[in-house]
Each structure stands twice: as C-alpha cells, then as structure tokens.
C-alpha cells in the first residue's frame, strides 16, 4: 500500500465543494480527490496514493514509470488491489 501510482486525469468534477477526478491507471478507472493538485487539468498525470493525488508528474515520466512497473510485475499487483477494492456499493454512490 506504500506505493503511489501515476494516473491520467480523464474528467474533473466538483462534488459537494471538493474537486474530484476520474483517473485512468493502466486501464482501471478510479475516483481520486484532487484538492492538493490545484490547476491540474484533463490529460495531465497525477501521482496518486490511496485515492488522493499527492503531486503531479509530466507525461513522459508517468508513462515511463507505468511501463517499468508493468515490466517488473508491480503494476499488476497495484491494479489487482485497485480492482479488489472497487466496492460496487461505493462506486454507485460516489459516481
């Protein structure tokens, strides 16, 4: 759970006053809180940890990181964790 993973911002919305984004992590979509990355826009990459964006990353660095994680088998582990915790109950209420 220590790892933070780069994700691409697919869409942004304001939910009850909080800036949220739907991010794409190697094909898995996840809702992420964007309050700590003001100014981030659709198409940008954020470094995300437990549903919270902690920083930004330029596209080349993000792609390179995702590729390396995939090659060393790390991405699959992280994505499995993301998928395993996509509680459908939670997804429907937060969507």
């Amino acid at each position: 759970m220590c790892l933070a993973v780069p994700g691409r911002v697919e869409s942004i919305r304001v939910e009850a006053g909080v800036r949220m984004g739907r991010l794409n992590f190697g094909g898995v979509l996840k809702d992420v809180c964007l309050v700590s990355v003001p100014g981030i826009a659709v198409g940008d990459y954020a470094i995300v940890h437990v549903g919270f964006a902690i920083g930004r990353l330029d596209e080349a660095a993000a792609r390179a990181t995702l590729r390396t994680f995939a090659e060393i088998g790390r991405l699959e582990e992280e994505l499995a964790e993301l998928r395993a915790t996509s509680d459908p109950d939670a997804a429907s209420s937060s969507a």
Binding site: I47, G55, T68, E77
Partner: protein
C-alpha cells in the same frame, strides 16, 4: 513467484551496478527507509547485483509492519462492538494482534471492510448513518493527507458517525532514532521518494549535518534505486554528507504545500511506539485538538488496551537492520506469510515477506 524479471532497462541497471562496483573502495551499509523500496530491491535482485562492499539494510518504512500490536488490538476491540463498521486497508487484516487479527474478527461476525481510500470509508459512513464507521488510519507522510482529507470532510459535511483510529508515523524522527541507537551500522540513507513528494526535502539537511550521513531521495524503480545507491556511494567515498534529490521528476524541495497545510490543520505531532522498535519522540501524528472528537480511541475508550509481541519474533532487529530476515531462526519454518509471527512477514512490503516471496530460504 516471479522475481528478477527482465525489464527494458536491465542493461542500464547492470551498467549502474558495474559503476558502483568500480568506484567503491570500502565497505558501506546503506539503509533504504521505505518498504516499497525493500520490496523492489529484493524482488528485482538489486541487492544481489551490488558489489560485496555495499550492504543494503532494510529499514522500518513499512507502515503495516511498524503499527504497534496495541493499535491492532484496539482496532479489533472496536470492530467487535455492535453497530460498528471498521474500515481498513487490506494489508492490515492479517497482521497479528496479541490474540488473532482483524480477519478472524470478521470471521466471528464483526463488520470489517477493506477500503482503497480513507475517503471510501467516509462514503461508507454517509451510507450507513445508523452505524459507527471507524477508519484504521495507518501510514507515513504519503498516506496521511488522504486521512486528513477524510477527517476534514467529515467535519465539513457533519458526518457524525465517522471517526479515525490514527497511527500515522513520520520518517525523519525514525532516521534520527536509528542514527542514535546503540550499535547502529547505517552510514547512509535512501529517503523515500513519495514521502518527499508530500513533505519536500527540507527536513533532511539538519539530519544529514548532525549525523554526518548522506541522504539521497530515491524512487521505486530498479534504475531509480541503483541511481540512488550510486550517488550515496559517491558521497560516502568522498566523505560528503549531503541531501541529494535523485527523484526530481516527482519531488521538489518544498514538496506539496497544499497537502502540508491540510496536514497541519488536522494533525499534531505525538510520541509514537513503533512495533519492534519502541517509542520514538515526536514520530507520529494524531488528530489536533480541533478534530479530537473524531478520534476513535477516545470515542470508544480503548486507549487503555495494551499488548505484547510474540516472544520468538525478531522483527525489531530486522527493522533496525541488525538481522537479515533469512537469518531469523523462525524464518520459513514457524514463520511464513501463511503463519506470520510478526508484522514484517505479513505485509508484502515487510522485509521478511519480501525475502520469502523472492524465493530466499533460511540461512540460519
């Protein structure tokens, strides 16, 4: 279990390892603080690519591993109360408390749910206004901003049935404690990149100066790790002790100031016990006075719950770098990821489990 995978940059990795071997003159012990780095080092066999002079000591930076037994016991006690939903990251469920784990409590009928984010736990609370929802908030500076946000939103939205059992811990006080511990062998640190993404690098120069120890902010990929180790060895051989940022694509000097402001609003520093290490002064965060009503320890009156470690487990020595996991007499015998005696065997980022999954077997 797959390990030492061939990756696109394997050639560059070998060249970096060769460069380290070329410049090293004396033996050095370098600690990677972060469990994610331990996992990557062992899994990709990087520690075994290094020249014999360079020894990697696996640090205490796995939050699952250093969470004290009493925090687990408190979480289990809360989870067993009627009407409670306890939300936790998945890797905490199998961490042994003094009697059983959260998974066992779940088997006995407690409502324990795995969440990906503290914000998901808050959403559970909003959906179940008739239940008390508690989030087990563990993790380093990387994880704490998400917990802080959940607390702030609970306050702003008036979610009265949400609270946090907070056990957040901080890296710089741990480095200080390691350097001060008797018999310390660590001569340089790889600092955890993502912790610095949040906090910046400003906390480290005083530590580097006081203890005359190089600190290199390092990422999590094989090349990042080798680059961090190379820069550390260059400094050690030259007798320098500076803070260097080898992860500038994700870390700036000042860090994420928005996240830091959120942390400062919600948390205050507190002395915290680390599993296997003991109490380290000012090494953790708890909810600040203005957020204390969200503190599950007070809400459920479990602060008095105390606990003891397994007498066999030597994870304290492992966490301090005094013992390699495969030298522990229980490693791979009584203690495996299926029957963990200590937290360093439970989490995939714990040093003992990292060795086991990489196929390493007992050497004692």
């Amino acid at each position: 279990m797959k390990h030492r995978a061939e990756y696109r940059d394997a050639d560059r990795a070998r060249r970096l390892a060769a460069e380290i071997a070329r410049i090293v003159r004396r033996p050095w012990a370098i600690m990677e603080v972060c469990g994610g780095q331990t996992h990557a080092l062992v899994r990709n066999g990087i520690d075994q690519m290094l020249p014999p002079e360079v020894e990697m000591i696996h640090g205490p930076g796995c939050p699952v591993c250093v969470t004290p037994v009493e925090v687990l016991d408190r979480a289990i006690a809360i989870a067993r109360r009627p009407g409670v939903i306890l939300c936790s990251f998945g890797d905490m469920l199998r961490v042994p408390g003094s009697r059983g784990d959260l998974f066992a409590a779940k088997g006995d009928g407690a409502d324990v749910r795995v969440v990906y984010s503290p914000l998901d736990a808050l959403a559970v609370a909003a959906r179940h206004p008739d239940r008390e929802v508690v989030f087990l908030a563990i993790g380093f500076e990387t994880t704490a901003p998400a917990s802080a946000m959940a607390a702030k939103l609970a306050r702003d939205r008036g979610v009265g049935n949400f609270s946090l059992l907070v056990a957040h811990v901080l890296v710089p006080p741990a480095i200080e404690a390691i350097m001060r511990s008797p018999g310390n062998r660590v001569q340089a640190f790889l600092a955890a990149g993502h912790v610095c993404t949040v906090m910046g690098t400003g906390q480290y120069p005083p530590l580097a100066a006081r203890h005359r120890v190089p600190i290199v902010v390092t990422g999590f990929e094989p090349l990042d790790l080798l680059d961090g180790i190379l820069r550390t060895v260059v400094q050690l051989e030259a007798g320098r002790h500076e803070v260097e940022n080898a992860y500038s694509r994700a870390v700036t000097d000042s860090g994420n100031e928005t996240a830091q402001a959120l942390l400062a609003e919600v948390f205050e520093t507190v002395d915290r016990p680390w599993r296997g290490i003991g109490t380290i002064p000012a090494s953790g965060w708890r909810l600040a006075a203005a957020y204390r009503d969200l503190d599950a320890e007070l809400r459920f009156d479990v602060a008095g719950v105390t606990a003891a470690e397994s007498p066999v487990c030597r994870s304290g020595d492992v966490l301090k770098g005094a013992l390699k996991p495969d030298r522990c007499p229980a490693f791979g015998k009584e203690c495996t990821p299926r029957t963990p005696l200590g937290a360093t065997m439970v989490s995939g980022e714990g040093a003992c489990a990292a060795y086991w999954y990489a196929g390493r077997r007992p050497r004692s």
